[in-house]
């Protein structure tokens, strides 16, 4: 167990170092990041001044060392758009909004997909199964930015029930959360169904039925509880994915989270902020991944980490 834990921690640390390296070199893809950040009409003096201010007049190796030392302290430099403010500070300020949206989407997804998957598995090949799987297939094929536009069109423009953008109370959370949840609903419904089908064929389910238990108790207390493990794992990992996946949804709904911040920063070439967002989301994903991996063994007594 200790060896596994050490190995897993080492792999996560390696991933974080790898992420930092990639984030640094992304900016150097064109060779000259300073030209990239300046508007086309900027003068040569502006160029030289900015190069010096950002420390990019130094050799690449020195820049990298300076960047790594700063990044390990969460310092990705200052934002060019929000003058003087630390890039990482901007990210952590907006993180609660993204987390709120991701959690809301997760809740909607679980509330819809678990019953749908359960019914689809229990009533296999029935009209309910076909209906649930059709919803899942369509949900997976539907681009979420199109769904966002459809929802805005109906609920904000036509019916005027909900706001089309911004973050002002629970009302404004509904449309972006539903948009973000749909893809997860599709995936989790299919996962719940297939996990349930696997479990429903087990001997202990036959025993439970043989004892004369009510079908509801068999399906929920015995089958669903055992089918839940892979589902819980995937849902946990989805939380990490949602952080990055919220980029488009946040942009369409002008939701003031880190995705919206990133896109806005890309538009005005505020790359220190873009680097901070990319690093922060990747780090979040690694941490969640590690936590889920470790929890897996704790949740399921059959799986003991070796």
């Amino acid at each position: 167990m200790v060896r596994y834990l050490a190995n897993r921690l080492f792999r996560s640390a390696m991933a974080i170092v790898g992420i930092l390296i990639v984030v640094f070199f992304i900016l150097h893809l064109t060779g000259d990041p300073v030209r990239l950040m300046l508007p086309p009409q900027a003068s040569e003096e502006d160029y030289v001044a900015m190069k010096k201010a950002l420390g990019m007049d130094k050799p690449l190796g020195e820049q990298f060392l300076h960047y790594m030392l700063g990044a390990l302290h969460g310092d990705f430099g200052k934002s060019l758009r929000f003058r003087g403010q630390s890039a990482m500070e901007l990210v952590t300020e907006r993180f609660p909004a993204t987390l709120q949206l991701a959690f809301a989407a997760l809740v909607i997804s679980v509330v819809l997909s678990v019953p749908l998957g359960l019914i689809a598995a229990v009533k296999r090949y029935s009209i309910w199964d076909n209906l649930a799987m059709s919803i899942a297939l369509v949900g997976q094929a539907m681009p979420n930015f199109w769904l966002a536009l459809l929802l805005i069109s109906v609920f904000a423009v036509k019916l005027r029930w909900l706001p089309s953008s911004g973050r002002s109370g629970v009302h404004s959370l509904i449309l972006p959360a539903v948009t973000l949840a749909l893809f997860m609903v599709a995936r989790t419904t299919r996962l719940v169904r297939s996990s349930m089908l696997e479990v429903l064929g087990e001997d202990y389910i036959r025993t439970a039925r043989g004892k004369g238990l009510h079908e509801w108790a068999v399906n929920v207390r015995h089958a669903l509880r055992n089918a839940a493990l892979p589902v819980v794992t995937v849902i946990g990992l989805d939380l990490g994915t949602l952080m990055g996946g919220a980029v488009v949804t946040e942009t369409v709904f002008a939701w003031p989270g880190i995705g919206f911040l990133a896109v806005g920063s890309i538009y005005v070439r505020d790359f220190p902020v873009v680097q901070a967002v990319v690093f922060f989301t990747a780090l979040f994903f690694v941490v969640i991944n590690l936590a889920v991996d470790l929890l897996y063994g704790v949740l399921d007594p059959r799986i003991r980490l070796t």
Partner: protein
């Protein structure tokens, strides 16, 4: 989302109509028979072939030039809505361009990006997966760590940043999406190659003096191609959505080229006055992706031994 997960769990639904009984017919006839009997994958194939047909014959089929503007005919609704113009059955956009023609030409970009990126990802993933699986140890360790790192990145955000840095355009979008999606291929190929490299026929080839190159290309590669094709089918549909997302956000393909993503972006500002502008391209993406996924689900059942017809 990793491409291989796109349809990974819908096996039963799409295979329930398939005949799993061994028969005396040839494998090809059995496969074709299963495709026809299963109906939903056949529908997916029809959709896919129709879109490919549109992309090839777009100049002949499209009723108008997709970029020609008729400002006096701007925001004309589709054929069933009052005020429509017969020559523009799906309506016109804010610049008076024919939506039907733009949809047909837009399919070209989607298909091109979908297939090219899937091919590129497949090639990179297959190569690295084979090397990691066959050589193991240090090579495997390095490639696996690269996979770990790349999987940790939020794909849309990373693609968005790289395209913004390199500049938009079709080629850069294809490169970024293609190189960004190789991990699903590499993971599956690595696992399969690892298993295959200790099998008797590989050991026999090694004992007979076969070089690593020969063993990999002649003995391992043919055995890992099936899952690659399956993942590739889902990568096509996933990348069609990613391209549309990048273009929708304004960093993808040039706005001068008609694409489904740019049409959606145009429609965003006209949700009230021209709801159809965003509706048609969204529907086109959905139907196209659904078709590919349905066909991909069936393809996996047929090609992947883990879901094979004889299971």
């Amino acid at each position: 989302m990793p491409a291989h997960e796109a349809g990974a769990l819908g096996t039963e639904m799409n295979t329930k109509g398939q005949d799993r009984r061994p028969s005396g017919s040839t494998p090809l006839r059995r496969v074709m028979g299963s495709l026809i009997r299963a109906r939903t994958p056949l529908l997916g194939l029809v959709v896919l072939l129709s879109v490919i047909f549109l992309t090839v014959f777009a100049p002949v089929i499209a009723p108008h030039n997709p970029n020609s503007q008729e400002l006096e005919l701007r925001l004309k609704p589709p054929f069933w809505v009052e005020g429509t113009v017969t020559a523009y059955p799906l309506g016109t956009d804010q610049l008076g361009r024919d939506i039907l023609s733009r949809l047909i030409y837009g399919a070209r970009i989607s298909m091109l990006v979908g297939f090219m990126t899937a091919g590129l990802s497949g090639l990179v993933g297959l190569t690295l997966g084979l090397l990691a699986g066959y050589y193991g140890r240090l090579v495997d360790g390095i490639i696996s760590r690269i996979i770990d790192v790349q999987l940790a990145f939020p794909f849309v955000l990373l693609a968005l940043s790289i395209v913004a840095i390199l500049g938009g355009g079709l080629l850069n979008v294809i490169l970024v999406l293609g190189i960004g999606g190789w991990m699903s291929f590499a993971r599956i190929v690595r696992a399969d190659a690892q298993g295959l490299s200790i099998r008797e026929f590989v050991q026999a080839a090694r004992c007979l003096g076969g070089s690593d190159w020969r063993i990999i290309t002649r003995h391992i590669l043919p055995n890992v191609l099936a899952p690659v094709i399956v993942i590739g089918s889902f990568a096509v549909s996933t990348n069609i959505i990613y391209e549309a997302a990048l273009t929708f956000l304004g960093v993808g393909v040039s706005p001068k080229i008609p694409t489904w993503g740019s049409m959606l972006a145009d429609g965003r500002d006209y949700l009230s006055a021209g709801w159809w502008i965003a509706t048609w391209p969204g529907l086109a993406i959905m139907v196209c992706v659904l078709g590919i996924n349905l066909f991909g689900d069936w393809l996996r059942d047929v090609l992947d031994p883990r879901y094979g017809l004889e299971r």
